[in-house]
């Protein structure tokens, strides 16, 4: 993170721009040029250790550069055209990720690198935090009072500290108290997911936001199946023969002939047996209604 180590200077609109800034802008432009794809990712909440780990584990697949927002903006503006659409995604603390993978793979990798993290006291929780009822690792002691003070329904049962009921201790948008944050950590509850959070990925004039980058295999398969069903049904409906529908069409015609013969009690040789059985079935059906009466012959009584 050498960038943050360099002498800081206010960004002013000045004709004189320090060389290091020019160099950095030039490097961003060069890398955007060099790689097929780049993404803007949020850095907030990530530790330098985790960032190093991500760099290590993705070496060869992607390059991560932390940069000042105004320099990124400058580089994108310089390049011009479609790339400037990415300026909207520069905010807070930003890193640029360069890759030759497609945007979906890149997104997938960055998501897979995310790890659970504890929430800090005094911060606003982005999510609901729920504590499940059940045992805790603690032995009875002052911890029970501390848990209760933090709003966690702790009690002693069978010589162990337990959570009595499942409870949502913080709702999304609420500030987490120091006491609660501390107790969550002691309970080894890490409610956050921290990593390089994709804001947008750019490829070849196209900007992909995270929701577009999630690949849902099950949903894709379902859509394929739906498409196939549509085609199959349409072909059946208009009796259009294809490799897939010819046999079902023949079977449908056969079924219709059979149904008509049965409904019309037409004694075609092929269905005479079925007609007899149907008559017999009718008999049994009526007989079953007469089960407790004297109306039945011996042969119909069970």
């Amino acid at each position: 993170m050498t960038e943050s180590d360099v002498a800081r200077g206010g960004v002013r609109h000045t004709t004189h721009i320090p060389q290091w800034k020019l160099d950095e802008v030039a490097e961003i432009k060069r890398l955007i040029e060099e790689y097929n794809v780049f993404g803007l990712v949020a850095l907030r909440g990530i530790s330098s250790g985790q960032l190093q780990k991500i760099r290590r584990e993705t070496r060869g697949k992607l390059v991560i550069k932390v940069a000042r927002n105004n320099l990124i903006r400058r580089a994108l503006t310089d390049i011009g055209g479609e790339v400037t659409k990415m300026i909207d995604y520069i905010e807070d603390q930003t890193a640029i990720v360069y890759s030759n993978l497609n945007p979906f793979k890149l997104y997938d990798i960055l998501e897979s690198m995310k790890v659970p993290a504890p929430i800090k006291g005094g911060t606003v929780s982005p999510i609901d935090i729920t504590i499940e009822k059940g045992p805790t690792p603690f032995n009875p002691g002052p911890i029970v009072g501390e848990l209760q003070k933090a709003g966690i329904p702790a009690a002693i049962e069978g010589g162990k500290v337990v959570i009595k009921t499942t409870k949502t201790v913080v709702h999304a948008g609420e500030t987490v108290s120091k006491e609660l944050a501390s107790m969550l950590t002691r309970l080894e509850i890490y409610p956050l997911t921290v990593g390089l959070d994709v804001r947008a990925i750019y490829e070849d004039g196209m900007v992909f936001e995270p929701e577009m980058l999630v690949i849902d295999v099950a949903a894709t398969v379902a859509k394929l199946a739906q498409g196939y069903h549509d085609a199959f049904n349409l072909a059946m409906h208009c009796a259009y023969p294809t490799d897939e529908t010819i046999i079902p069409l023949i079977q449908k015609a056969f079924k219709e002939g059979y149904t008509l013969a049965l409904e019309g009690a037409i004694p075609a040789p092929a269905i005479i047996g079925d007609l007899l059985q149907r008559a017999h079935r009718d008999l049994i059906q009526i007989a079953s209604l007469l089960a407790d009466t004297d109306a039945l012959d011996e042969d119909l009584k069970a």
């Binding site: 040789p269 047996g273 109306a295």
Partner: protein
């Protein structure tokens, strides 16, 4: 089960299920008719909606004679 077939037949032919109607059909089929049984049948079928009962017959012959025909 002749008696029940007779009742079904009378019903499907659009007639009313009376003792006389059933007896006539059974006689035509050369069945030796027992009056008490006819009475019992007619009485038991009173109040039964035969068409409704048949439409609920949710069973269909399974093994059709493949050799038929």
């Amino acid at each position: 089960m002749e008696y029940v077939y007779a009742a079904l037949l009378v019903h499907k032919a659009g007639g009313e299920i009376t003792e006389d109607a059933i007896k006539a059909v059974l006689n035509a089929a050369n069945v030796d008719v027992e009056d008490t049984r006819v009475k019992a049948l007619v009485s038991a079928l009173e109040g039964i909606d035969i068409d409704d009962a048949l439409s609920k017959a949710t069973v269909i012959p399974q093994a059709a004679p493949a050799a038929a025909g």
